[in-house]
């Protein structure tokens, strides 16, 4: 029974992810896209729960849904007036994009299918957040530092780009 519920809710999550993604890419209104993205991201967060990682799921919601989506919204508001009608679609382009994406889908799907995924010989079952923290500050400390630098650069860059724009305006 719990399996059924788990399965059902899993399918729900999957549906949220996929539908959200479809909306994110296919809807003509940019705001719908953002909402679709948020939905999809939440779905992915749900998937993370199924993958034994509530911590990452939480972070996903916090960072992605909380931060990135909001940033995108701001950008939308800064740039394009929403009331302008979207230009008509170019069917050739849509077909081309679908073809490209489809080809990649075939490629990656085949790859996933043909590969024999073998689990590691020894597996530790330690899902605690403490370990993550430990790893983060030991094995992955370089990346940790790098990420901080990266974020700094991104921040500065955004400011410079924006300021430059304002200055010239």
């Amino acid at each position: 029974m719990s399996l059924l519920i788990a399965s059902l809710s899993f399918y729900l999550v999957v549906a949220a992810t996929v539908v959200g993604a479809v909306i994110a890419v296919a809807a003509r209104n940019i705001f719908h896209n953002v909402l679709g993205l948020a939905l999809s991201l939440i779905g992915v967060a749900g998937l993370f729960l199924y993958l034994n990682s509530p911590f990452v799921a939480l972070m996903q919601i916090l960072i992605y849904v909380g931060a990135i989506t909001i940033a995108i919204c701001f950008a939308i508001m800064l740039s394009q007036p929403l009331y302008l009608p979207a230009p008509p679609r170019n069917p050739l382009k849509i077909q081309g994009a679908a073809f490209g994406a489809g080809l990649v889908f075939i490629f990656l799907g085949l790859l996933t299918r043909q590969t024999l995924w073998t689990p590691a010989a020894e597996r530790v079952n330690d899902w605690s957040i403490t370990t993550i923290g430990h790893y983060l500050l030991n094995q992955y400390v370089v990346i940790f530092e790098l990420i901080s630098l990266l974020l700094l650069v991104a921040m500065l860059g955004a400011i410079v780009t924006a300021r430059g724009g304002r200055g010239s305006a």
């Binding site: 024999l116 370089v142 990346i143 790098l146 650069v153 860059g157 780009t161 200055g167």
Partner: protein, 470 residues
């Protein structure tokens, strides 16, 4: 772990910090900014030189300092130094952004330095992104037309999509080998011979570096960015970042050594298409930088020749060629920046009369161009021949044949540059070169010639470096 092992990176981090403080100043002081940045980068070269022989593994094996990485770090330090050397006059970037310009160049350098030392997939990815983002920001910094932002957008999205592919490939590698450490992956690779995941994962993982090196089909950004970016930024993209990409391609490609031809055939394919396409399209270009972009695509194809041999001399030749490419391409760009002192884009035809305007610059140009074209006794010729030799040793006959014929093709447009600079007269005022600039010119010319004639020392160094990777 000694400080020295991490010394170069540390130094450049500090340098970034100093520059960061410079950006906080209320009033921009361009000349002073440049002086500071330039001095720091000069010291940086010395530091890189001092740390050349450092060895060791840091940060829980995720970071390896060996001859291989140190050589590239030296090259990167040199690249930064050279770019800063021609940045005294920086007309294409707003004065108040000069400090940021230096800062992002430095962060980019730091990113690439960590890139060449990283032996862990995630480190590689993040370091790559660090260097890329700095460049994404630098490209639209240019003052003036709309094309800079357009170029920036294109650069960014190409980069983003490529890095998505790369990340996806990394995830597969992680899935198949259960590790993000290159040494572990290397150890696991033989088990994966039966499964397609090894080759495909590697190819996908290399996508990010194909992008950096502008190898077909990841080359589309290059012409636009070269044309749209500020000269100095493009110079950096065209020299230092290429060298880092080569380093990482080497690191990743050796993982595929197990797969033999199954793996290398793809590289052969990409290499051939890259050189042919680059050279053919370069023929019809009128904009100097755009032509150089296509030539860089072709050169990426050449470098790949050495990498795909997956064996000591071949890889060493690639390193040699990457270093050579840094020098010779920089020489050409330096001439470009000096000729276009107001920072505008230059048509090839606008080089006319350079011989009369500044014989020294024209000499540097001719040497640089000839080196790019692979004309002896320049460094480019020697490097190219090394590449071909090692490829032939592995039996890539057709590849060498096509590469050699491509050399002829490329000569066509290179000679057009020489022709414009040397043989067309234009009544334009002479170009003044400051004494340090003259010294730089002479040094570059001497380097191009000297290492073309006596490549042994560099080659031996490169071989020693490769041994550290294999």
């Amino acid at each position: 772990m000694s400080v020295l092992q991490f010394g170069v990176e540390l130094y450049y981090l500090v340098m970034a910090l100093v520059l960061f403080f410079l950006t906080l100043r209320r009033e921009p002081q361009a000349a002073q900014d440049h002086r500071i940045a330039f001095t720091l980068s000069t010291v940086g070269v010395v530091v890189a030189l001092l740390c050349l022989t450092q060895q060791g593994e840091l940060f829980f094996r995720s970071y390896r300092v060996d001859l291989f990485s140190q050589i590239f770090k030296l090259a990167l330090a040199l690249g930064l130094f050279l770019v800063l050397a021609i940045s005294r006059n920086l007309p294409s970037i707003e004065e108040r952004n000069h400090a940021e310009f230096y800062l992002f160049l430095t962060t980019c350098t730091v990113g690439m330095m960590m890139l060449v030392s990283a032996v862990e997939l995630l480190t590689i990815y993040v370091a790559l992104e660090l260097s890329s983002y700095s460049l994404y920001i630098l490209v639209p910094l240019r003052r003036g037309d709309d094309i800079d932002v357009e170029a920036g957008v294109k650069y960014l999205f190409f980069g983003a999509v490529s890095s998505c592919f790369m990340l996806f490939g990394l995830s597969y590698i992680f899935g198949a080998t259960h590790s993000t450490y290159l040494s572990d992956i290397m150890a696991r690779m033989p088990e994966l011979v039966a499964s397609p995941i090894g080759v495909v994962g590697l190819i996908l993982a290399m996508a990010g570096f194909f992008f950096k090196l502008s190898i077909f089909p990841f080359h589309f950004w290059a012409p636009d960015v070269y044309q749209g970016g500020a000269h100095q930024v493009v110079t950096f993209i065209a020299t230092a970042s290429k060298a880092a990409a080569v380093a990482l391609l080497i690191r990743l490609a050796v993982l595929g050594a197990q797969y033999g031809y199954h793996f290398t055939q793809i590289l052969v394919f990409l290499s051939i298409i890259s050189m042919t396409l680059g050279n053919l399209v370069a023929i019809i270009q009128k904009d100097f930088k755009r032509m150089l972009a296509y030539s860089s695509i072709a050169h990426a194809g050449y470098v790949l020749i050495g990498i795909l041999t997956l064996q000591e001399t071949g890889l060493a030749s690639s390193i040699y060629y990457a270093l050579a490419y840094l020098v010779m391409n920089f020489t050409v760009f330096m001439v470009l920046t000096q000729v276009a002192q107001d920072g505008r884009d230059l048509k090839i035809a606008e080089l006319a009369g350079l011989y009369h305007r500044s014989p020294l610059l024209s000499m540097s140009l001719i040497l640089g161009i000839f080196a790019l074209a692979g004309v002896p006794p320049s460094i480019g010729f020697t490097g190219k021949l090394f590449l071909f030799t090692s490829a032939m040793n592995q039996g890539y006959f057709w590849l060498v044949l096509i590469g050699a014929v491509n050399g002829t093709l490329s000569l066509y447009f290179y000679l057009r540059v020489v022709y414009a600079a040397y043989f067309v007269d234009a009544k334009l005022p002479p170009i003044y070169l400051s004494p340090p600039m003259r010294a730089l010119n002479y040094a570059l010319c001497a380097t191009i010639l000297y290492f073309g004639v006596a490549p042994n020392s560099i080659m031996e160094l490169a071989r020693a470096a490769v041994r550290a990777v294999l």
